[in-house]
């Protein structure tokens, strides 16, 4: 696997950019897809947001200063794109953000790219009740198995605050699953 520093250098030079970008897409597409999918839930929406994320990365790669790691910079773009997408969707449908989240969880029953059972549907309904940040922290830690230090760099939050957020999320989800 190509070193991140070398990849960034190649991406910032016009003559090597196209080839390096292909490497970048192939390296990160799956990880970013699952991150986005767990926010927007639906596959077609996740596909749209993933493509937009990579287009944004391509457009802004020259501005990437290297203050953070490339992957955390891309995760940040993916997170912002996903949340913006949901905001636009709720506006378009004329519903509140919470109403949209509830609908998204309910629509999973009919989703051909969702093969979860009753318990997974309940889990998504429980996740829909959490604030955005708590839900992000939970899915990044529990399903994407990321380290707190990595999440901290992406969400620009201290490790201590992330741990608190995660434990609160777990408690709320467990309570929901018990009660429903």
């Amino acid at each position: 696997m190509i070193a991140e520093e070398t990849l960034v250098q190649e991406l910032q030079q016009e003559e090597s950019r196209a080839k390096a970008f292909e490497v970048l897409v192939n390296t990160y597409k799956e990880r970013l897809y699952w991150h986005i999918r767990r926010i927007v839930l639906n596959h077609d929406d996740a596909d749209d947001v993933l493509q937009n994320t990579f287009i944004k990365v391509y457009r802004n790669i020259e501005k990437f200063k290297g203050d953070s790691k490339l992957y955390s910079w891309m995760y940040r773009i993916a997170t912002n794109e996903s949340l913006t997408f949901l905001k636009q969707k709720s506006k378009k449908l004329g519903v509140s953000d919470q109403e949209l989240k509830d609908r998204m969880a309910e629509n999973l029953v009919a989703d051909v790219y969702f093969e979860g059972s009753e318990i997974q549907i309940k889990l998504q309904k429980a996740l829909a009740t959490l604030p955005d940040k708590q839900k992000l922290v939970f899915t990044m830690k529990y399903y994407q198995e990321m380290k707190y230090t990595e999440i901290s760099e992406i969400l620009d939050t201290s490790v201590g605050a992330l741990k608190t957020s995660y434990h609160l999320a777990v408690k709320k989800i467990e309570t929901y699953l018990k009660e429903h």
């Binding site: 970008f21 292909e22 897409v25 192939n26 597409k29 799956e30 897809y33 699952w34 999918r37 767990r38 839930l41 596959h43 596909d47 993933l50 493509q51 990579f54 287009i55 391509y58 457009r59 999973l108 790219y113 969702f114 093969e115 979860g116 059972s117 009753e118 318990i119 997974q120 549907i121 889990l123 998504q124 899915t139 529990y142 399903y143 777990v170 989800i173 467990e174 699953l177 018990k178």
Partner: protein, 179 residues
């Protein structure tokens, strides 16, 4: 109700249709029980077959649509040289034309000090009448001249400079003498 042709056993209606679902539920519950948590280990999402292989060319084609490559069908070098030569000729002609068509110095461009110096030094051979005809006084300027109160010092200076054998005593300026 399905029957096994050899053993004559029966299975409930729809048993095999939802078998997978029930099996996954059981696996999930057993996993949850083992981990001591109610939260399932899998969240149940999947992607269409071959999606991750197909998404790369889709993204790359979108990027190339954004940045269309400029393919030169023929070299434009000769055209550039020709265009540069034509532009240079235009610049040259324009600068020459500009220098020739510069407007001549008009009367208004002369500074007043230069005019004063000329009138003082040059012998114009003009009578007062001719000067009066050339110098266009309008009424207000004339009135300024006639009705402006001149200071005594200015009058005495003028007389000293312009009138021969002038003596101040001859003017009888002292008002007390009239009394």
């Amino acid at each position: 109700m399905k029957k096994d042709s050899k053993n004559k056993f029966n299975a409930p209606e729809g048993y095999f249709e939802n078998f997978n679902e029930r099996l996954m539920d059981r696996i999930n519950y057993e996993e949850m029980a083992a981990s001591g948590s109610l939260i399932p280990k899998s969240d149940g999402f999947r992607v269409p077959h071959d999606y991750f292989n197909e998404v790369t060319p889709t993204i790359l084609s979108k990027i190339s649509e954004e940045n269309p490559k400029v393919i030169q069908l023929k070299s434009y070098r000769r055209f550039y040289y020709g265009a540069a030569a034509v532009a240079a000729i235009f610049v040259l002609i324009f600068s020459l034309f500009q220098s020739k068509t510069t407007s001549p110095i008009s009367f208004d461009d002369l500074a007043n000090a230069e005019l004063d110096a000329y009138f003082e030094s040059a012998d114009l051979n003009m009578t007062s009448y001719e000067i009066a005809q050339l110098a266009a006084f309008d009424e207000t300027e004339l009135n300024d001249l006639l009705y402006t109160n001149l200071e005594d010092d200015m009058i005495i200076d003028y007389l000293n400079n312009n009138v021969d054998d002038f003596e101040l005593e001859e003017l009888n300026l002292d008002n007390n003498e009239n009394d």
